[in-house]
Symmetry: C2
Subunit: 344 residues, 2 copies
Amino acid sequence: MRVLLAFALVVAVAAAARAEPQIFNIYDFAFEDGSVLPELRVAYETHGKLGAGRDNAILLLHGTSGNRHSFDAMIGPGKTFDTDKNFVITVDAIGGGDSSSPKDGLGQDFPRYTIRDMMAAQHALVTRGLELTTLRAVGGSSMGSFAALEWGIHHPELVRSLILLVPSPRAEANFQLTVDLMTSVIALDPDWQGGRYARNPVEGLRLAGMVYLPWTVSAAYLDRLPAAQLAKEIEDSARAFANWDANSLVLRYAASRAHDVSGPFGGDLGTALAQVTAPTLVLPSASDRLLGVDGARRIRDGVKQASYAEIPSDLGHRAARPAPGTPEGEFIDREIRALLAKIE
Amino acid sequence: MRVLLAFALVVAVAAAARAEPQIFNIYDFAFEDGSVLPELRVAYETHGKLGAGRDNAILLLHGTSGNRHSFDAMIGPGKTFDTDKNFVITVDAIGGGDSSSPKDGLGQDFPRYTIRDMMAAQHALVTRGLELTTLRAVGGSSMGSFAALEWGIHHPELVRSLILLVPSPRAEANFQLTVDLMTSVIALDPDWQGGRYARNPVEGLRLAGMVYLPWTVSAAYLDRLPAAQLAKEIEDSARAFANWDANSLVLRYAASRAHDVSGPFGGDLGTALAQVTAPTLVLPSASDRLLGVDGARRIRDGVKQASYAEIPSDLGHRAARPAPGTPEGEFIDREIRALLAKIE
């Protein structure tokens, strides 16, 4: 399959209030599409201590627009991912955060990476970098759940449980169309220049973030927001997108758009999902109109040991990343604790 | 309120296969915002014959992107709007079709017209142009239902029934945001030039049509379409938008965006809806994610003689304009016939 000719583990000095990432370098990383990067940098952080049995690690994977800090509010002593008991690993996916990404200089020439490439890089980190042979859980939200599901399919021997927040086994037409439109909006900005820009196409990125916003929540949520708050959320979404390098953002969403666990199984979704042996918690959001709940239901129906619960919320896709103490946060916390209690 | 200083009825020679519109000119038309057009042209067509009692007229009002032909498939001998019995009037709303619109030359200087302005122009046509004192029904779809509801509120003495397809008593945040985004996409096109363009911003219009598409249907519908058909629908939506003059499209959607029947009632929706005395058929689409069903339910709850039925469909907002013979078309046909049977 893919060849990892060499690798290295570099532990960065972490003294600042917000920890500097640790860096794991993978040399000659071969992507699913056949392209090779001489050096792929994987940025990660760990929280808590690895137990003597080396069996208390939990790997957490963020969403398309996120990074290794996306789960910070749920990680700590006594929290959902309790660092008194667990060794929690958070990773920047390929293409963003402090991991190798198009913005490092390759731009449009950066490999068209996939969800399975992300998983492969994480797998190298976990098995060769951290020298782990088992994970108590792999959890992910949105794009992170896509990668977590690939972990369950391709490394069932390593993974003792899966936590899938707003997941889908593949990107369906509605999501693909949304991504295509955001990408087209960015390309409409004259600064885009076919992706070989001298100046980041900020207006296109801002507008793409605004186009994205209503898909991430429900109509009921938009309608109950005071006008000033809605304006702030629109601006926040615009700014979050504009803070990305355009090529990095476009390739990141392209990876999510291409997500399909059935690919290596000739398009047979049932066969792909049947590979998963780990107890799998499936937590879609009842009001999700970006991905919907159909994909989550397919996972429920195709994975042997799946438990399924819809987050009751009008936050839509965003329900998967709630503030602690909210009803959504408590629902998710309760479900995850119940799963982890069974995984010793 | 508004002063119609003069008016004229011009019957155009209609000999072609597709009838030329009839034209009704309103002089010194005063818009709700205080601006005045010296001459407002209202294009319309009639189907069937006005009865001796002059009481068999049905007025049909199209959606935001439509025109007087939007209901053509439902109009004719034996059809839903049976021309053996009814005198059916279809009108191009202000700002599009062959009625006065920004593309005639005023561009950005065309008045910011409203749904109530449309109703006022239609009212002038019906009462002064056609000299009718009663309408068997006013029916409308989407924006047309907005105007039909205004008819029921402001002219209860004229209207014997209302037919509201995918209606809402006011534009809510989700729809407003969608309109804002489409408008912003058009403005991102360098050809837009703040609306004072020398060349229609076709790329922006095309992309706005694509941004609009997924809102008009359901995710389930997009997912069940074969890829080639989905590509065709995206292209059709892009082309339909690009066929509009940009200012005409932007002002048309701005009118729908500003829709709120409670405006003249100090924002009191209950008081506004209580003005409606006519039996009112409310037909939202169960899968509508552009307007949702909440607005339709508010109409049901606020109008004294409302009957409410959700069109069972995955066509979303588009379910209101189905092909004849489809389940949606038959559902709508049955409901409208049942209403009209009671309105003699």
